[in-house]
Structures are given as structure tokens and as C-alpha cells.
């Protein structure tokens, strides 16, 4: 039988050192705020989201994943001029979902990482738009084409980025 997912006993749980756990999200936030000024196309990427997904699937702990997503999302919110919590809610859900999925799936190979990021990017954008339109009252349009393209770009970026971040993983 061809097993497409691993059992709980087979999966490996990773952890990160404290500097890495704090530094990686901060560097992601910094680059996200800084690089679009010099490279305008970069605002299509969402580095904090990619870091959230990476940390969540590596730790494979839903509680840890949702808290990671929540903190990173709230920090990202605080750099915008909008009420704090829109990115927080979206990334909390993504962190929880990614870590829950990481428990069940093998997310070590590039193909699964690509699909994982592609899917979670769309989930993230949908939650963001729902909250922004429904709660904050923003007049945001559904741009499906843009969203699909951005999801593809983020998924493509995630493959090399995750390979770099793999170096910071420690066996738990």
C-alpha cells in the first residue's frame, strides 16, 4: 500500500532555539517592511506568512502553531495603519491549520511544501478579506486572479526559503 502520509510515530518534531524562534519572525517582518521600498514587486510576497507556516509545520504542535501565527500576525498588523487583529486572526487560523496538517502529512519535500503554501495563502487571503470587509468595513475587492498569482509566487518562494530555514531546525 502506498502511504501518502506518515503516522504520528514516524514524524519528527522539531524545535528552534530561542534566538531563532524570535529572530526569524522579526527578520521576516523587517524584510517585508523594507524590501518593497527598493523592489516594488516584493509586496506580492508575504514573508511573515511563510515563516508562520514553516514554524507551524516544523513544530507540529497546533497550540504552538496558533500562538506563533497570532503573534506574527499581530506584529504585522502593528506596522499597518489598520486596526490590529486582521492579520492576527488570519495567521492564527493558518498557524493552527498548518501545524495540524503537519502532524498528518509529510511536509519535508518540496512538492508538498509548494501545495501547502499555495493552499494556505489562499486561506489566509480569504480570512483577511472576510474580516476586513465584515468587521472593519473596508472596501476591498475580490481579486481572484491576483490572489492566485500571489499564491503561486509565494509557494515558489517558499521552496528555497524553507530550505534555508531548515538549517535552524533542531531535533526535538
Amino acid at each position: 500500500m502506498n502511504v501518502s502520509y506518515t503516522s504520528r510515530e514516524q514524524i519528527e518534531v522539531y524545535r528552534f532555539s530561542l534566538p531563532a524562534a524570535i529572530g526569524i519572525p522579526l527578520v521576516a517582518l523587517f524584510l517585508q517592511a523594507f524590501l518593497p521600498l527598493r523592489f516594488h514587486f516584493f509586496d506580492i510576497f508575504d514573508l511573515p506568512l511563510l515563516v508562520t507556516i514553516f514554524l507551524a509545520v516544523s513544530r507540529r504542535n497546533p497550540v504552538s502553531g496558533l500562538f506563533t501565527g497570532s503573534v506574527i500576525g499581530l506584529l504585522q498588523d502593528s506596522l499597518t495603519h489598520q486596526p490590529i487583529g486582521i492579520y492576527g486572526i488570519a495567521k492564527t487560523v493558518v498557524g493552527y491549520g498548518a501545524s495540524s496538517l503537519g502532524v498528518k502529512l509529510d511536509v519535508e519535500n518540496s512538492g508538498s511544501r509548494f501545495l501547502l503554501v499555495f493552499g494556505f495563502y489562499i486561506v489566509h487571503e480569504v480570512i483577511y478579506l472576510v474580516v476586513a470587509r465584515g468587521m472593519v468595513g473596508q472596501d476591498l475587492a475580490w481579486r481572484w486572479g491576483h490572489m492566485a498569482f500571489a499564491a503561486f509566487a509565494n509557494a515558489a518562494l517558499a521552496i528555497p526559503l524553507f530550505l534555508i530555514l531548515d538549517r535552524f531546525k533542531q531535533r526535538g
Binding site: 523587517f30 516594488h40 499597518t80
Partner: protein
């Protein structure tokens, strides 16, 4: 119940966290006026991120300066020549514009308008952005410690950028005009139609509140109207990119911003705007284009004893009083105008004199053609004609060709300010340059008597006779 929560512990925590975030968000949305409800977390994040950004920007700038200043100097000479030419062109353009501005100020002063002046600006470096295309804000490296306050306008040399939204100790958050929550009062430069510029979710600018029967054309320039009380009036916003029918009765007008909002590096914060009326001096201080042009033309050296030099002087610079305007007791000539009253044209104006020669006279108003036929000295082209006349007729002795002697006023200024046609509307029969420029009665040429020996000291200051005899040409 406890068993249920323990079994679904992860989901319970997720729901609890989401609930907390939703409540927090709802509280912020409700307190829209209170921007400090989430200040602490913003200050923490910005304080953590901006030092890194500042360091990166400073390093990048230093490296760029070293490269561009010491290594990459290819084509600098050619560029320098081009820039010099451009400066020359811009100087002429500036003088022309200054003349128009001076005229506008005079009109404003007459009508009691108050004008907004940008009194102080503060240069700042853009160090970061929100990192999200849902929130179009940038961070600058000037904060509360530098005197930045909320709602200050932020501009570049090209146009409007945005306004200061939040202030931190060493940095500030600037809301760009292409954010959907932004709005700028705008006016079309040509048609003077007013509207509101807003951002769209995809970062474009649209001009709202334009009725479909209004005439808006592609390429029309948009300026700030000053109605939003943030941006001073007259700053460039951009130009109309496309016009199409929109919803209801409004047009869908897309605008291309003048400032490159996606490539901002340095900006100016308007820290002080002064609202005042233009002063008398400002209204008079404009240098005319004719003066600059005339200064570049070759001129004949002055001959001793000639009534005019032919060397134009810029407005505001008092030339030596030509002998033709010196007071000669009994000659009917008037004393030269002096003081503010004379400069402003508040002093009585002289009556036109009989026809003179082709000599040019230097006055406070620049070059004035004298002695030519009314056709030549007439009208708005006084400036250009003056230039030509000054160069061509310099040094030509003034010979008088009497045409139609007219009685002179009791007192008058020999050289009234040219720029006061708006303050003292020209009366028919007055032959100053302004009346001609305004397109009214053509001025009669003045008499420029030939040089006379100076009268004894003291007689120059004597007032002219109250009823001077009609001006007659001197032999």
C-alpha cells in the same frame, strides 16, 4: 464538560484566541477616533523594526554615495552641460512665472484674499513600509522629537505624497494618497472643477464627485484645492489618466500621481503653513522676463550726456535718474518719482507727453519705449518691444517731434510703477506702459528732452509749479 474541553483542547484554545482577537478588533473599530487604543503594540513593533531599517538605509545610502561620487562618473560632463542649459531655461521660465505670481498677489491683495505659504519644511528619509498592499503607508525617519505632528502634509518635489498618520519617538507613519482610506481635496487646473482624490485597493488614484456632464480631459493637471485643511492649495497631485462613465451620474476619472509613490526615498514634511495676505513688497518684487532678456542682449556703451543708456535694469533696481527727468524750473519737467507711493503707482501719474523720439528711457518698470509712435509702444508686447527698443535706440540723441501737446497734471511721477495697473486703473488719455499692456488706450509717446545743463543746486528739489505750462520740446 471538562472532559469535552480536555478532549478538544487545541480547538478550544484556537476558539479562545480567535475570540480574544475578534473582541480586540471590535473594540478598536468602535473607537475609531481613539488612535491610542493600540498604541503600545505599535510602538513596540516600530521601535523594534525601524532601527534596523534606518541602519540599512544609511548603509545603502553611504555605499551609493561613494559609488556615484567617486567611481561612477561616466557622462557627468555632458550631463552637467545639459543641466546648465536646463537651468538657463528654467531661470527664464521662473522669471515669467514670478511675474504672473506677482500680478496674482497684487490682485489677491486688492481683493483681500489670504494666501497659504509653506513656511517651513522638514526633509525626511523613507525607511520602511507596511509590507502589505492592503495598507499603503510608509515610515520616515523623523518623529516627535523632530517636531513632526499628526496630519502634517508630506510632499516631494514632484507632488503630494500623503499625510502623517501616527508619530513615534524617532519615526512617523505616513499614509499615502493612494490608500483607500486617504482623501485629498483636488481641483482641475484648467477647468477649476473640484473633486476628491481617493486611493483604490490596487493602489490607483481616482477623482471622485465629478459629474458626468463635466468636461474632464485626459492629461488635465490636478492640484490640491486646500479644502481638506491638510494640504496647502496649489500642490501638484497628478494628471488625469483616463476618463470613463462611472456609476450613477459620476465620471470614473483615473489619475496618475505626480510623485512616484512606489519609489519614495526622500520626502518633505510641511511643518508650518502661514496664512497671510501678500505684502506690498512681495507684489512689487517680481523681476520681469524682459529685464532678464534685456540684460542678455548686447548694448551700446553709454555716451556721456546722452539722456538714456539703453542698458536695462531689472525691476526694483533704481537706475540713475536720467537727465530728461530732472526738474528744470520752468521747463515743465516733473521731479522723479520716489518712495513707496511712487513705486506702487499711488502717486499721481503723468499725463502722456507729446511725441518724442526713438530713445528708450530707463525707469523703475524696466525699459520703456519713448518717443515712438503709439503703435510701437502699445499693448502687452511692451516688454518685448522694450527690449528691442532699448538695444536699438540706445545712445540715439533724443530729438523731439511734437505731435499733440497736452496739458500736464499739477504733480506727477515721471516714472510710475509699471506693475500697478491693477491698483490704479488706467484712465483714458494716460499713456503709461500699463495702460497699453492692459489693452486699453494706446499711450501717447513721451517727450524726452535733450540734455540740459544742470540748474543750480537746490532747484532740483523744488516742487514743480502747480500749474505747469504745456510741455514743449526743448530745442
Amino acid at each position: 464538560m471538562e472532559n469535552l474541553l480536555a478532549r478538544h483542547r487545541n480547538v478550544t484554545i484556537l476558539v479562545a484566541v480567535l475570540f480574544a482577537e475578534v473582541v480586540g478588533l471590535a473594540v478598536q473599530v468602535k473607537r475609531t477616533a481613539d488612535t491610542n487604543s493600540s498604541r503600545l503594540i505599535r510602538v513596540w513593533t516600530v521601535t523594534a523594526v525601524t532601527p534596523l531599517e534606518k541602519a540599512f538605509v544609511a548603509t545603502q545610502r553611504s555605499l551609493g554615495d561613494i559609488w556615484h561620487s567617486y567611481f561612477y562618473l561616466r557622462g557627468v560632463r555632458a550631463q552637467n552641460r545639459e543641466l546648465q542649459d536646463e537651468i538657463e531655461q528654467l531661470r527664464l521660465q521662473q522669471v515669467r512665472l514670478a511675474e504672473d505670481a506677482g500680478q496674482a498677489r497684487r490682485l489677491q491683495r486688492l481683493l483681500g484674499f489670504k494666501e497659504q505659504f509653506i513656511a517651513k519644511t522638514l526633509a525626511a528619509q523613507v525607511i520602511g513600509s507596511s509590507g502589505s498592499d492592503m495598507s499603503r503607508v510608509v515610515y520616515i525617519d523623523k518623529g516627535a522629537g523632530d517636531g513632526v505632528k499628526q496630519d502634517m502634509a508630506v510632499i516631494t518635489a514632484e507632488g503630494v505624497v500623503g499625510k502623517v498618520l501616527r508619530i513615534f519617538p524617532t519615526s512617523s507613519q505616513v499614509l499615502l494618497i493612494n490608500d483607500p482610506s486617504s482623501g485629498v481635496g483636488a481641483i482641475l487646473e484648467k477647468s477649476r472643477l473640484q473633486g476628491v482624490i481617493r486611493g483604490t485597493p490596487n493602489g490607483e488614484l481616482v477623482l471622485e464627485k465629478m459629474m458626468s456632464d463635466e468636461r474632464v480631459e485626459v492629461g488635465d493637471k490636478l492640484l490640491t484645492s486646500g479644502g481638506d485643511q491638510i494640504f496647502p492649495k496649489g500642490l501638484t497631485i497628478g494628471e488625469v489618466k483616463s476618463v470613463s462613465p462611472g456609476r450613477d451620474v459620476f465620471l470614473n476619472v483615473r489619475v496618475k500621481p505626480a510623485a512616484q509613490l512606489s519609489r519614495l526615498e526622500e520626502v518633505l514634511i510641511i511643518t508650518q503653513v502661514v496664512e497671510r495676505q501678500p505684502t506690498q513688497q512681495e507684489a512689487q518684487s517680481a523681476m520681469r522676463a524682459v529685464d532678464i532678456l534685456a540684460a542678455r542682449l548686447p548694448s551700446v556703451p553709454e555716451r556721456t550726456g546722452q539722456p538714456s543708456t539703453g542698458i536695462p535694469l531689472p525691476m526694483g533696481v533704481k537706475p540713475a535718474v536720467p537727465k530728461a527727468t530732472e526738474v528744470k524750473p520752468g521747463s515743465g519737467a516733473k521731479p522723479p518719482a520716489s518712495g513707496i507711493a511712487a513705486q506702487n503707482g499711488l502717486a499721481p501719474r503723468p499725463r502722456p507727453k507729446p511725441a518724442g523720439t526713438g530713445a528708450a528711457q530707463l525707469t523703475d518698470e524696466g525699459v520703456k519705449v519713448q518717443g515712438v509712435k503709439p503703435k510701437a509702444a502699445n499693448g502687452a508686447p511692451a516688454a518685448t518691444q522694450g527690449v528691442g527698443a532699448s538695444g536699438a535706440s540706445a545712445g540715439v540723441p533724443a530729438t523731439v517731434v511734437p505731435r499733440k501737446p497736452r496739458p500736464k497734471p499739477a504733480t506727477g511721477a515721471a516714472a510710475p510703477g509699471a506693475s500697478n495697473a491693477n491698483q490704479n486703473p488706467p484712465k483714458p488719455g494716460r499713456g503709461d506702459a500699463n495702460s497699453g499692456a492692459a489693452g486699453s488706450t494706446p499711450p501717447a509717446p513721451k517727450v524726452v528732452p535733450p540734455p540740459q545743463p544742470k540748474p543750480p543746486a537746490g532747484t532740483e528739489q523744488s516742487p514743480p509749479p502747480s500749474t505747469p505750462p504745456p510741455e514743449t520740446p526743448q530745442p
